[in-house]
C-alpha cells in the first residue's frame, strides 16, 4: 500500500444548475454543513479550511482568502484557513495541502469547500475571463482564439492521428451523458440522453466541435471533509482513502504543448500513481476521468493502454464505458455531463470518487467498487494529476 495518509469522510453538494437568486454564501453554508454532517463530526472538530479558489469571482475570492468561511460557519476549532488556485486542478492541491496540515499535526480534520455562481457574473466579465483563461495574450489571443477553439484544434489533430471518426467522438458525449442522466446533481439529471446523430446534428461551434460537445456554464458547489486515513479507520465510517498520486506539468498554453509529452505524462503519472498505491490497472473498478472536453477521454484511454491504439472511440461507442459496462468511466459524466462550474467539476469528481467508495452513489453505484482512479487537470490542460483511491478498511 502507498504512503498516503488521507481520507475523505464527508461530502456535501448542491445540484449543478442556475441559481441567480442564490448567494454564493448560501451555497457555501449548505454544502459545508452537509459535508460536516455526512462525516458524522461536530462543526468545531474542523481544524482547517482550505478552499478552492472560485474562478472569475474576484470579490468572493478576496472574501475567502481573507478568512470569511470559518467565521461565517462558526468553526470555533479552526486553527487556520487558506485558498488554493490551480484552475481545474485546485481541489487536488487543496487535498495535498490538507494532507500536509494533517501530517504535520496542524489539524486533524479539514474542510475543503468550493462554490461558483456563473449566472450572476456580468456576461462581459464571463466572456472576458473564459476568452483569456489559459490563452496567451501575446501569441494566441489577438488571433481570436477561444477555449472551444483550442480544444477543437486538439480534437482535429487527435482524430487525424488516431483515425477516430466523428461518430466515435460524439459517442464520448453519449457515454458521459448516460452517467449524467443518473446523477441527481447534474444539470442533465433525468434528461434524455442524446444519440450520436443528435450530438452531430447540433450546430457547429468551432469545427470539428459541435455545440453538444462543448460545456454548458452552470452554478454549483460542493465540500469535502477530510482527515487522516488512520483516524478514518478508528472512526469506522465509510471513507475514500488516497492510496497513490503522481503528476506531470506540461505547459501553460496549447501552442507550446507537444502531444507526445502529454501522452508520456499521462502514461508516467498514471503508472506512478498506480505503483504508489500498489494497485494494477486491472484492479481499477472505476476510471473517474476529468478532462473537461470529449477529446481527452479516448486519448487518455489508449495512451495508458486500456485499449489498442486507435480503438478508444469504439470503446465508448460500444458501451464499455456506460453504466453497466465493463469499464465504468467518468461516472458523473465529466464537465460535459455535469455542467461547467469553474474549478468545480474536478471537485465534483472527487465527491463522486468518495461516494462510489463510500457506497453512496445511488443509481450510479458501481457494485463492490474497491479502487477508483481519478485524475484532474488545470488551465488549458497545463498538467495531469493522477490519484488512486480505495475503500476504508
Amino acid at each position: 500500500m502507498g504512503k498516503k495518509n488521507l481520507a475523505i469522510i464527508g461530502v456535501g453538494e448542491v445540484p449543478t444548475g442556475t441559481y441567480p437568486d442564490r448567494s454564493q454564501w448560501d451555497i457555501i453554508y449548505e454544502t459545508s454543513i452537509q459535508a460536516v454532517r455526512d462525516a458524522g463530526i461536530h462543526k468545531n472538530d474542523v481544524e482547517g479550511v482550505i478552499a478552492v479558489a472560485p474562478q472569475a469571482q474576484p470579490q468572493l475570492t478576496a472574501e475567502i482568502s481573507f478568512g470569511k468561511i470559518p467565521e461565517e460557519l462558526g468553526l470555533k476549532g479552526c486553527k487556520d484557513v487558506c485558498i488554493c488556485n490551480a484552475g481545474g486542478a485546485s481541489t487536488s492541491n487543496c487535498l495535498r495541502l490538507a494532507e500536509q496540515m494533517i501530517e504535520s499535526n496542524q489539524a486533524k480534520i479539514v474542510l475543503i469547500p468550493h462554490v461558483t455562481v456563473h449566472s450572476t457574473i456580468p456576461i462581459p466579465d464571463l466572456i472576458n475571463f473564459f476568452a483569456k483563461a489559459g490563452i496567451d495574450l501575446q501569441w494566441e489571443y489577438p488571433y481570436g482564439t477561444t477555449y472551444n477553439g483550442i480544444i477543437a484544434m486538439m480534437t482535429r489533430r487527435y482524430m487525424h492521428e488516431s483515425g477516430t471518426t466523428e461518430e466515435e467522438m460524439a459517442s464520448v458525449v453519449v457515454s458521459l451523458r448516460k452517467w449524467a442522466a443518473l446523477d441527481p446533481n447534474s444539470i442533465f439529471y433525468g434528461k434524455e440522453v442524446p444519440t450520436i446523430e443528435k450530438v452531430l446534428s447540433s450546430s457547429m461551434v468551432s469545427s470539428p466541435l459541435h455545440k453538444r460537445e462543448c460545456n454548458v456554464l452552470a452554478d454549483g458547489g460542493a465540500a469535502l471533509v477530510v482527515t487522516s486515513a488512520e483516524y478514518a479507520k478508528q472512526m469506522k465510517c465509510p471513507a475514500a482513502c488516497k492510496l497513490g498520486e503522481s503528476s506531470r506539468y506540461f505547459s501553460a498554453f496549447t501552442t507550446t504543448r507537444s502531444t507526445e509529452r502529454v501522452k508520456e505524462g499521462f502514461r508516467d503519472a498514471t503508472d506512478e500513481a498506480l505503483a504508489d498505491a500498489g494497485v494494477s490497472k486491472e484492479e481499477i473498478d472505476i476510471w473517474n476521468v476529468y478532462l473537461a472536453y470529449p477529446v481527452g477521454h479516448p486519448m487518455f484511454m489508449e495512451t495508458i493502454g486500456l485499449c489498442k491504439p486507435g480503438q478508444a472511440g469504439k470503446m465508448f461507442m460500444e458501451g464499455h464505458t456506460w453504466p453497466g459496462g465493463r469499464m465504468p468511466w467518468a461516472t458523473i459524466g465529466d464537465a460535459i455531463g455535469r455542467g461547467h462550474t469553474g474549478s468545480g467539476v474536478s471537485m465534483a469528481t472527487y465527491v463522486e470518487t468518495a461516494r462510489q467508495l463510500m457506497g453512496k452513489a445511488g443509481a450510479r453505484q458501481v457494485k463492490d467498487a474497491e479502487y477508483v482512479f481519478q485524475n484532474t487537470s488545470g488551465g488549458s490542460g497545463m498538467n495531469f494529476i493522477a490519484t488512486v483511491w480505495g475503500r476504508n478498511r
Binding site: 462581459p124 466572456i127 472576458n128 476568452a131 496567451d136 495574450l137 501575446q138 501569441w139 494566441e140 489571443y141 489577438p142 488571433y143 481570436g144 482564439t145 477561444t146 472551444n148 477553439g149 477543437a152 484544434m153 486538439m154 482535429r156 489533430r157 487525424h160 450546430s203 457547429m204 461551434v205 468551432s206 469545427s207 470539428p208 466541435l209 455545440k211 462543448c214 498554453f253 496549447t254 501552442t255 507550446t256
Partner: protein, 438 residues
C-alpha cells in the same frame, strides 16, 4: 460592449519581433549558446538560461499542424470576422505558432497543407503574422500587388437605396422634405469600406434629383458617427495604385458628392467621429454634436495624414493653430465641447436634449425654400474659397437677383405687385408675432 480588437501584449524582449512584422519579417528567437529555437520568445533561453539570444529571419514557410473554423461563441470583438480559421502551423525553423489561415476557403484547409506568412496590420506598432496557402490555386484572392492593383470592387447590381448594405437612405421629416442618410455598420462603428463609399456617392447624387428636398441629415447608426476607414481595406492599400485610388476615387468622390449635392447637408454627430469619419463631417454644411461625442484625426499615429480632405478643410474650418494641433496630436479624445470651443462645430447639445434640439434645427431649416438653400450653399462655398471680396459680392448680388426672379419667388411677388402695401404689412405682423413669442 468592447469591439476593439486586442493587440498583442508586448514584452520588452519581444519588441523586436513585432517591429519586424511591420517590415514584413517573421523572426524566430535563437539561443547562441545552445542553438535552441525559442517560441514563445523568452527573456532568457528556457533550455540553458543563457541571455545570449538573437533573432533569425524565418523563411515564412510552414505546414498546418491543426486548425479549426470558428463559427460561433466568440467574443463580440471577433464576431465581425466570423467565420474565420485559427490554426497551429509548424514553421520550417521548427517552431509551432498559433495563427490564422487567410485567403483560403475553409473546406480547402487541411492538416499538412503548405502555407506561407503574410502580415495583417492591426495597430501602428505591429502586424499579425497570418498564413495563406503556398499553392496559389487554393487562394481566394491573390495578394500579388500587380494583380490586386487592377482589381476594382464591382457591385453585382446597380446601386439602389433598396440594395444599400452600408448605409440607409430615407426621405422623411415634415412634408417629406428631408433626406436622411445614415451610415449603417453599427457593429463596425460605421467604419467606411468600399461599399459604404460607393453607396454614399450614389445616395448624395441621387438626392440631388429630388427638388422638394432642401436638407440632408447625415448621421451614424448605433453609438458612433463614424470611426474612419475600415481596417479591412488596409491590406488592399499595400498596392500603390490601390492606395492612390482609395484617396482620389472613393475619397474625393465622397467629398464631392456631399459638397456638390446642392442640399444643405446637416451632420448629426451622435458619437465617435474620427479620422475619415471626421473628414466626411467636414464636407457637410452644418455640424451638430451630442456632448459625449469624441473627435479627432488619428492618421498621424500610423505615420500618414488625413487624406479625405482633412488637411484642407480643418484649417479652413477653424483657427489654423488649433487645426494643426488636431492633425499633429493624433488625439481621438477631443470632446465635442472642446471642438466647439476651438471653433469647429456649429453647436453642441446635452446628450439628453440632442434629439429634440437637433430636430428643431432641422425642421426650421427644412421649412425654407430649397432653391434659396441651394443658392446659399453655393454662394457661401465660393465666397469662403478665398476669392477677393469684389468677386464674392458679385456672386452674392447676382445669385440673389437670380433668386428674386426665379419662378417660385415670382409667383409670390405677383400679389405684392398688385398691392404694394401688403409686403410691409405682412412683414410687420410677422415681426410682432415673433417678438411676442420671445
Amino acid at each position: 460592449m468592447d469591439t476593439q480588437k486586442p493587440t498583442p501584449v508586448i514584452q520588452p524582449w519581444t519588441k523586436e519581433f513585432w517591429k519586424a512584422t511591420q517590415q514584413g519579417k517573421l523572426l524566430v528567437q535563437h539561443c547562441k549558446d545552445c542553438n535552441s529555437k525559442i517560441f514563445f520568445p523568452k527573456k532568457v533561453c528556457p533550455e540553458c538560461w543563457s541571455e545570449n539570444l538573437n533573432w533569425i529571419e524565418s523563411t515564412g514557410k510552414a505546414k498546418v499542424y491543426t486548425y479549426t473554423e470558428m463559427i460561433d461563441m466568440v467574443e463580440p470583438k471577433f464576431m465581425a470576422d466570423l467565420p474565420y480559421i485559427i490554426a497551429m502551423v509548424d514553421l520550417d525553423e521548427g517552431i509551432r505558432m498559433t495563427t490564422r489561415i487567410v485567403n483560403c476557403k475553409s473546406e480547402d484547409v487541411a492538416i499538412g497543407m503548405d502555407v506561407e506568412v503574410v502580415f495583417q496590420e492591426i495597430s501602428p506598432e505591429c502586424s499579425l503574422p497570418v498564413f495563406q496557402p503556398t499553392d496559389i490555386s487554393l487562394r481566394i484572392k491573390t495578394t500579388d500587388p500587380k494583380e490586386t492593383e487592377t482589381k476594382v470592387p464591382e457591385f453585382e447590381t446597380r446601386l439602389q437605396p433598396e440594395n444599400y448594405q452600408a448605409i440607409q437612405y430615407e426621405i422623411g421629416g415634415k412634408n417629406n422634405v428631408v433626406c436622411f442618410i445614415t451610415l449603417n455598420r453599427p457593429d463596425k462603428y460605421n467604419a467606411i469600406n468600399r461599399r459604404m463609399a460607393a453607396e454614399l456617392i450614389d445616395a448624395f447624387r441621387r438626392v440631388r434629383e429630388i427638388p422638394a428636398v432642401g436638407v440632408v441629415v447625415l448621421t451614424g447608426a448605433g453609438k458612433a458617427f463614424c470611426t474612419g476607414g475600415d481596417l479591412e481595406i488596409f491590406p488592399s492599400l499595400a498596392g500603390h495604385q490601390n492606395s492612390l485610388n482609395w484617396l482620389s476615387h472613393e475619397g474625393l468622390d465622397v467629398q464631392r458628392a456631399i459638397t456638390s449635392c446642392e442640399k444643405v447637408v446637416i451632420c448629426k454627430i451622435n458619437g465617435h467621429c474620427l479620422a475619415g469619419g471626421l473628414e466626411i463631417a467636414l464636407a457637410c454644411d452644418l455640424l451638430y454634436a451630442g456632448e459625449s461625442a469624441k473627435m479627432g484625426t488619428t492618421e498621424i499615429n500610423m505615420g500618414i495624414l488625413p487624406g479625405w480632405g482633412g488637411t484642407a478643410r480643418l484649417p479652413r474650418s477653424m483657427p489654423i493653430f488649433r487645426a494643426r494641433e488636431i492633425i499633429f496630436s493624433g488625439r481621438k479624445d477631443y470632446t465635442a465641447r472642446e471642438m466647439y470651443d476651438m471653433g469647429l462645430l456649429t453647436r453642441v447639445f446635452k446628450d439628453d436634449e440632442f434629439e429634440f434640439q437637433f430636430e428643431k434645427v432641422v425642421n426650421n431649416i427644412a421649412s425654407k425654400k430649397p432653391i434659396a438653400l441651394r443658392m446659399g450653399k453655393e454662394i457661401m462655398a465660393r465666397s469662403v474659397d478665398g476669392c477677393d471680396i469684389e468677386t464674392a459680392l458679385a456672386v452674392e448680388r447676382n445669385g440673389i437677383q437670380w433668386l428674386t426672379y426665379s419662378p417660385d419667388i415670382q409667383s409670390v411677388m405677383d400679389q405684392f405687385r398688385a398691392s404694394p402695401d401688403q409686403l410691409t404689412q405682412q412683414q410687420k405682423q410677422q415681426n410682432i408675432r415673433s417678438d411676442a413669442k420671445k
